[in-house]
């Protein structure tokens, strides 16, 4: 599974939505469940999944699937 697929799977789990609701184009505005609490949970779940740690600026700004994938790849050195 590549980074994009893993990221989407974690989001689906944490936000508890059906998989068709999350795609590379999704932003936090599109999903009602993507509030600040789930955002925090999502960050920690991604960190657990990939074994990385995001910066505070990233935590604050990763508000779309695209930005999450970019930040994650950056931390993985990809």
């Amino acid at each position: 599974m590549d980074v994009q697929e893993k990221v989407i799977q974690v989001l689906v789990n944490i936000l508890q939505v059906s998989p068709d609701k999350i795609s590379i184009k999704t932003t936090s505005d599109d999903v009602e469940q993507w509030d600040s609490l789930n955002h925090t949970n999502m960050i920690q779940a991604l960190e657990q999944e990939f074994g990385i740690r995001y910066d505070l600026e990233q935590v604050v700004s990763m508000l779309s699937v695209r930005e999450i994938i970019e930040a994650t790849k950056g931390k993985l050195g990809l």
């Binding site: 789990n13 944490i14 508890q16 925090t40 920690q44 935590v59």
Partner: protein, 584 residues
């Protein structure tokens, strides 16, 4: 290994269909802590409950206790709530105490100290008016970065020492309410370390101080209490023998070949056995379930010189070649204990997998003999057997310990506490009030709640009236010790009529409670009464919700049931450890 949040959410999908008994939890808080909800639900599920969690309004603990409503417009908790979790972070309630300690004047410190204790008391009273739910109060995180560094632990008035005193007083308040328990977050922090506990990114992002690992540990800790109260704590520990109680296999290695010794590598098994013996003394039933010849196992128990576990510690056993699930069921029947109160430890994945599959109610732990050096932790950290019941036997043992120590205390007055107090070099000075001290005395009457016999509030003008009145004496007490001058920390107002001196007011700042200062003060008060050639002193105690700790003060000092003392017949002496007690 703990489950990740995603795994937990998967498990929780089963909950709505499982028709479990509901357990209502309300969370009151002054921080963001919603991340704990799935963990609470998970541990509730493991204990056979479906948790319904409602979260109070941010930093509205007290208001929520007075009928605050949640986001769903329903009261945060009600009479049918089972458990109330309180997250009261000190730095959010009192930045001065938590973070700005070195800047505090003694008056500000005292004021903040009282403010915290008042808040705790008021919150609990408001809760108890509506609900008898068990209350788990989380606190008090000690400062990570000590304000004076290594000096902190050496000084009795440092921030750390002060906060530890605050914690003791909070626990005292909890003990005077029913079903209110203190969950020490320091224990949780110790389990995973500060770096794993706090995630400052989320603090600055959304005022959520704790990591997911932290709320996991906290929820686990909370459920130790809930399980104990609901009788869901475990009562029986079933043990394999080979590679669990000793290293090696008795059948193959013989009694001389197995590893079991006080020192060296065999010591890990010896230490593990000591923990098991401790569990036995706590009232846990120990049982053996081993695939072995009975005589071989008992030979170790009876003949091995380093065997701590003995036959008398074993409540039941099934030592044979049949399957362990069936054996455990037999043990459950013979002990008349439900399988859901069982914990089973074995080093074989075959056995543990099988028991897990056939008897899912049993808590199964797989141990690795190559990591036997960690066997002690296997039970220690889980709290499976924790109980809030103190059995009659425990009570008896405690009574015996108490009687012993009481006797020893009487024999030798200089216990270690007295020595410590003596080392403080406390100098007590008691004087009649003058112009300069009136304001401070009035302030003390307004602020002091805990060590205050009558809680009468006076203004500066009131105190001045007492001072100017010929039939009244106003006394104040100042305290100095090795570490500094605490200033005026006590006040007494005496009213004389006929042959009696009435103690209208007797109070001490909460900062100096627990040092016997009150006894020194009372001895000077009696000297003041003698000056007026009066024989009878009468005290008064007006109970409030906050001063219960002084209800026995006068009788402890020799006053009769009417709180009268005849100073011609008896007197009150200041404890010997004071450097000086001067009545000016």
């Amino acid at each position: 290994m703990d489950l990740s949040l995603s795994d937990i959410q998967q498990v929780l999908k089963q909950v709505p269909n499982s028709k479990l008994q509901g357990y209502r939890i309300a969370v009151l808080r002054n921080i963001t802590v919603e991340s704990i909800i799935p963990y609470l639900q998970y541990y509730a599920f493991k204990s056979g409950f479906e948790a319904k969690v409602s979260v109070g309004n941010y930093d509205n603990i007290l208001q929520d206790c007075h009928g605050g409503v949640g986001a769903d417009n329903k009261p945060v908790f009600a009479s049918d709530t089972d458990c109330i979790l309180i997250f009261f972070r000190l730095e959010d309630f009192s930045w001065p105490l938590a973070r700005d300690f070195l800047n505090l004047s003694p008056e500000q410190l005292e004021s903040e100290f009282e403010r915290v204790l008042d808040y705790v008391e008021l919150t609990l009273q408001a809760i108890r008016k509506q609900s008898s739910a068990v209350v788990l109060w989380h606190g008090l995180e000690m400062p990570i970065y000590k304000s004076l560094g290594i000096l902190e632990d050496q000084l009795p008035d440092s921030q750390t020492s002060t906060l530890k005193r605050l914690e003791v007083q909070m626990k005292d308040i909890f003990s005077r309410h029913t079903n209110v328990f203190y969950v020490d977050l320091s224990d949780c922090i110790t389990q995973i370390g500060i770096n794993s506990f706090y995630d400052n990114r989320f603090w600055y992002f959304s005022a959520a101080p704790y990591s997911l690992d932290a709320v996991n540990v906290i929820a686990k800790e909370d459920f130790k209490y809930i399980n104990a109260l609901k009788g869901k704590n475990k009562k029986c520990l079933v043990l394999d023998c080979d590679n669990t109680l000793w290293g090696g296999i008795i059948d193959e290695d013989g009694i001389d070949g197995i590893k079991l010794s006080k020192h060296g590598p065999g010591g890990s098994f010896y230490d593990f056995q000591q923990e098991l013996v401790n569990l036995h003394h706590r009232g846990v039933a120990l049982a053996l379930c081993s695939k072995n010849n009975e005589e071989d196992v008992w030979e170790v128990f009876d003949m091995h010189p380093e065997m701590l576990l003995k036959r008398e510690h074993i409540a039941a056993y099934e030592i044979n070649w049949e399957d362990k699930a069936g054996n455990i069921k037999k043990i459950s029947e013979s002990l008349n204990l439900g399988l859901d109160s069982f914990v089973f430890i074995d080093d074989s994945p075959f056995e543990t997998d099988m028991v897990r599959e056939i008897l899912p109610q049993v808590e199964v732990i797989l141990v690795d003999p190559k990591q036997s050096f960690d066997y002690r932790q296997v039970i220690g950290l889980t709290g499976y057997f924790d109980s809030l019941q103190y059995s009659a036997v425990d009570r008896q043992r405690t009574k015996m310990y108490q009687a012993e120590s009481g006797r020893r205390r009487l024999q030798k007055r200089s216990g270690s506490i007295d020595e410590f107090l003596e080392k403080l070099g406390m100098e007590v000075t008691v004087k009649f009030a003058d112009e300069k001290s009136i304001h401070r005395i009035a302030q003390l009457t307004q602020r002091t709640n805990q060590f205050n016999l009558t809680t009468k509030r006076y203004s500066d003008a009131d105190i001045k009236k007492f001072v100017d009145n010929d039939t009244c004496d106003v006394l104040y007490l100042s305290l100095k010790d090795k570490y500094g001058d605490a200033g005026i920390v006590g006040a007494v107002i005496l009213q004389f009529s006929g042959d009696t001196a009435e103690i209208d007011t007797f109070l001490l700042s909460c900062r100096v409670i627990g040092r016997g200062v009150e006894t020194a003060f009372l001895s000077c008060v009696i000297d003041a009464v003698r000056l007026r050639k009066v024989e009878i002193v009468r005290g008064e105690y007006l109970p409030t919700s906050k001063n219960q700790q002084v209800s026995g003060f006068y009788s402890k000092c020799g006053f009769d049931e009417k709180l009268r003392l005849n100073i011609m017949d008896s007197s009150v002496d200041a404890p010997a450890y004071f450097l000086s007690v001067i009545f000016d």
